[in-house]
């Protein structure tokens, strides 16, 4: 090869790098491991993590992933493929994204969806920027305080440069968005309102009433949703939301310590040209065969550069595929069963906890599959103690910014949890409050 190139050493390929910048010493890295040594090391690291019975949620849930999901996303044809710019040799990826978009629209009750965002938090931040750009004469965003505080943090970061005024809508003492206060904040500068349902505390918000109020004021409604809940709860679209986003992890994606996951993003038809990210559309080839392409690309950074709707380039392709296979496998009936089982187990646990003297943080508020309780002492201590019994009893509210409840524990349920595990949870929390 060097003869064809016309060089006598590989070093000649790097002569453009000034001599003084070329490394003379090897990097300070460990020596190469064989495959077995690497696997052994990774096993050691994995064993230095504890698998706990998981009652943690906060937007991220421990659902069963059917075997077919991992089997299919492990096909080389999917996971070693590039972004589907060359449509003729990417129909597998493109068709699966079209199906993903269709399913997200079904869940959200909206007209159009994109090929996915990085996660739920960034999807919400991008939705806020999108609503702001749609509303040419209005610049304010109102964010309910019951939205996941980490999502709020990501929005605040995304807003560092644009500096859109963001006002925080307070909550009632029952943990729901305070619609009276929201009415006071709404004005003719308000571009959009962001609300989450079920909200960060697991409580079902009155989306339809919020939408009516928001639209009366000429603003757009952005709803953040838990996709599993949408098997049984009214969709954001039905309630009048203009844009809906969510964390797609519960749909067939491994917990994987927080990523990679998949952000869901849907909107009303009229806003399609304002959407961020990739979108797949259906068309025909020159012989009339049905096919799929990336479409409306003039919104995107590789065409529009500094005038793009967002800087996002990748979607979370393989995670979106996992969600698509998941929704295909559990299907219409299965998703309802997953949702219903999660709700049933949550309600059983709620009753047992109350019967054992544990105090709910927001008694009487309607929840889907997650709720908050008060702990005796800090929730962090309770969690550390519970780990010794092999259980993760929930998420400490005190770890989030903008939340002033130090003794709050947020507990989530999925179809994977059984009665024995719930009884253990009750026992652990009761013990902590007796101590």
């Amino acid at each position: 090869m060097m003869r064809v190139i016309g060089i006598s050493s590989e070093a000649e390929l790097f002569t453009d790098i000034p001599e003084k910048f070329r490394l003379n010493e090897p990097l300070d890295l460990p020596p190469a491991l064989s495959e077995w040594e690497a696997v052994k090391l990774l096993h050691e690291l994995a064993q230095d993590c504890q698998n706990l019975i998981c009652f943690a949620g906060a937007g991220y849930y421990d659902h069963h992933v059917p075997a077919a999901v991992d089997h299919l996303i492990r096909r080389s044809e999917f996971y070693t493929a590039y972004t589907p710019y060359q449509a003729e040799v990417s129909q597998g990826t493109l068709q699966s994204i079209y199906e993903f978009q269709s399913m997200v629209c079904e869940l959200m009750g909206l007209d159009v969806a994109n090929a996915s965002m990085y996660d739920g938090a960034t999807a919400m931040a991008e939705a806020a920027l999108m609503a702001h750009s749609i509303q040419k004469k209005r610049d304010k965003i109102i964010l309910s305080i019951t939205v996941n505080p980490h999502y709020r943090q990501v929005l605040e970061t995304y807003n560092l440069g644009l500096r859109i005024p963001i006002e925080i809508g307070p909550r009632t003492s029952s943990g729901m968005t305070d619609l009276d206060s929201l009415a006071d904040l709404l004005d003719d500068r308000t571009a959009a309102v962001i609300i989450q349902s079920p909200n960060f505390y697991g409580i079902i918000e009155d989306l339809a009433a919020t939408a009516a109020m928001v639209h009366d004021a000429g603003a757009l409604l952005i709803a953040v949703a838990d996709p599993i809940s949408l098997a049984v709860l009214k969709s954001p679209g039905e309630c009048g939301a203009d844009i809906a986003v969510g964390e797609g992890q519960p749909l067939g994606n491994a917990l994987s310590f927080g990523g990679p996951v998949v952000g869901l993003f849907a909107a009303k038809q009229e806003y399609i040209r304002h959407m961020p990210g990739r979108i797949v559309g259906l068309t025909d080839d020159i012989e009339g065969r049905r096919g799929f392409v990336l479409t409306l690309q003039t919104r995107e950074q590789h065409i529009r550069r500094e005038k793009a709707t967002s800087n996002i380039c990748t979607n979370q392709g393989l995670n979106a595929l996992a969600a698509t296979v998941y929704m295909s496998t559990v299907g219409r009936q299965g998703l309802r069963e997953v949702a219903e089982a999660s709700a049933q187990i949550a309600n059983y646990a709620f009753d047992q906890l109350v019967a054992n003297g544990i105090e709910p943080l927001f008694p009487g508020a309607p929840f889907f599959r997650e709720f908050a309780v008060r702990t005796r002492g800090t929730a962090r201590t309770v969690i550390e103690q519970a780990a010794k019994r092999g259980i993760l009893p929930g998420v400490a509210l005190s770890r989030f910014p903008h939340i002033d409840i130090v003794d709050g524990l947020l507990i989530a349920f999925t179809e994977k949890r059984c009665k024995d595990e719930v009884d253990l949870l009750v026992d652990v929390l009761k013990e902590a409050s007796d101590a």
Binding site: S310, V325, A343
Partner: protein
């Protein structure tokens, strides 16, 4: 619809395989006392009509996705000469380690004591990336290269705001990726495009003429998208720093440099690293990626929160006490599963394998340039790890670069990156990576040369390609004009 190849029929949509009442999996029945759902959820919140998901048994789901998968080109099948995308082979062991129970089953809110192995992995990956990039501090949080760029632009803003003025502009060369200008706009900056020199590099004199106290910084890919090392980097870094700005490296092309030289040593203040390019995590049909951002010490305290801590007692934790941080950019700590793959890859390459990778990538690229350079013009000459050819010479036959790319698909190879960078007319950008054999490179070069001769003899033949792909050229105008982006029952 007349399919010429009945072995390759148009696949139905998964919705078109649906039959009422079918299902692909079973869900456990709760073993707790239950009540009617209507007693658990208020009537006003209940959905009347379930979402229209398909109803398909598992065997049909598997057949469906297998059938459509076969319509994809992919690295495990054959070559991807995509410039700036670094489509290297994805080692299989990475897939195994990322799925180890104990790593794949962790909820991100497990207590620190229960995730020490995962945190140690992240810490050691960060240390390795700092060493490779020559930087002092790092965040692993960005979910993709473009998000890494966004973090970089926010670091510009944080740094200058702390000095009293965020400044207004960011300078970006005309050869840059589209994400660069899109990113600075999102961060509230104005993108100022700088024309490249005749050699395809940033011209220090041109740079000096636009630098000023309104410039927050410069984003400079290195080697740049023409594959050219920015050989004036020392002068460029000095000029930027003298003007009070910061120098950002888009690390898309780090595969060419790792173990050879280091962005930190070259004078860069910030670099983002694409783990899905340089460090072999799979592209997944368009993600997930990961875009860690490494910085010099003076920017460390602005990095997104949380960062990682390694305490004297040997424990690892997440550090949230960072009052000057730009904030969070991801719901959790980043694309952990991608980090596991990159960590496995780096440990297996080791200190010897890292520079060897860069050398082999440069050699493969130079070989392609040598074989094609006499036929396909290279307006800026040979690059390091990638070269940009021009298809402009085919215009006299009425053939465009797009046609060459489409014809290449008939040879069972992916097309190169085309029409980018914008500074080359009819650009054909090829980056072979280190994981292709000489035989595969020869097969590619032979195909490219054959296409050039086909274009001269029978232009229409090339213009109507591809012929052998699952579908032929698609009507993009129609897709744009009447967007159909989702299935609705009764559509087909």
């Amino acid at each position: 619809m007349n399919d010429r190849n009945p072995q390759n029929p148009t696949a139905p949509l998964i919705f078109e395989r649906s039959h009422t009442g079918r299902r692909g999996t079973t869900v456990p029945r709760p073993d707790v006392p239950t009540r009617p759902l209507a007693e658990l959820i208020p009537a006003w919140a209940m959905r009347d009509k379930p979402p229209g998901l398909p109803e398909v048994p598992e065997n049909e789901v598997v057949r469906h996705f297998t059938a459509i998968s076969l319509k994809n080109h992919h690295v495990d099948k054959a070559f991807y000469p995509l410039g700036s995308c670094t489509m290297k082979y994805n080692p299989k062991v990475n897939e195994a380690t990322a799925r180890l129970p104990g790593l794949s089953d962790l909820h991100p809110f497990q207590p620190t004591a229960a995730v020490q192995g995962a945190l140690r992995l992240m810490w050691e990956l960060g240390e390795a990336l700092k060493e490779i990039s020559g930087m002092d501090a790092i965040t692993l949080q960005p979910a993709a290269g473009a998000q890494g760029e966004l973090v970089g632009a926010f670091l510009f803003r944080a740094y200058h705001t702390a000095k009293g003025d965020p400044r207004r502009k960011v300078i970006i060369p005309d050869s840059a990726h589209g994400t660069n200008p899109a990113t600075v706009t999102m961060a509230g900056y104005e993108a100022l495009t700088l024309k490249s020199s005749k050699e395809g590099r940033m011209d220090p004199a041109a740079l000096e003429s636009v630098l000023g106290d309104d410039v927050a910084g410069v984003m400079l890919t290195n080697p740049n998208t023409l594959g050219k090392f920015e050989s004036d980097i020392e002068t460029i870094a000095r000029l930027v720093h003298d003007a009070g700005g910061l120098l950002y490296m888009d690390g898309a092309n780090l595969n060419a440099l790792m173990g050879i030289t280091r962005p930190g040593d070259l004078g860069y203040d910030i670099v983002h690293i694409n783990l899905h390019k340089t460090f072999s995590s799979p592209h997944g049909g368009g993600g997930p990626g990961a875009g860690p951002v490494a910085v010099k010490e003076h920017l460390a305290h602005f990095l997104p929160l949380p960062t990682l801590r390694h305490d004297a007692d040997g424990t690892y934790s997440l550090d949230w006490e960072r009052p000057t941080s730009i904030g969070k950019v991801h719901g959790f700590w980043g694309n952990f599963g991608v980090l596991v793959r990159a960590y496995t890859y780096i440990r297996m390459l080791g200190r010897e394998g890292i520079p060897e990778t860069a050398r082999a990538a440069a050699l493969n690229s130079a070989y392609v340039a040598a074989r094609l350079g006499d036929t396909y013009e290279m307006p800026y000459g040979r690059g390091m790890h990638e070269s940009v050819f021009s298809g402009a010479f085919l215009k006299k036959h009425g053939v465009r670069t797009l046609d060459v790319a489409k014809r290449l698909l008939d040879f069972g190879m992916h097309a190169p990156t085309i029409y980018f960078p914008l500074v080359v007319a009819e650009a054909i950008m090829t980056e072979p990576t280190e994981t292709e054999t000489k035989q595969e490179l020869d097969r590619f070069c032979d195909a490219m040369l054959q296409i050039a001769s086909e274009a001269a003899k029978d232009p229409d033949f090339v213009k109507n390609a591809p012929y052998s792909t699952p579908v032929r050229r698609l009507d993009e105008a129609k897709a744009n004009r009447q967007p159909n982006v989702r299935y609705r029952a009764g559509d087909t």
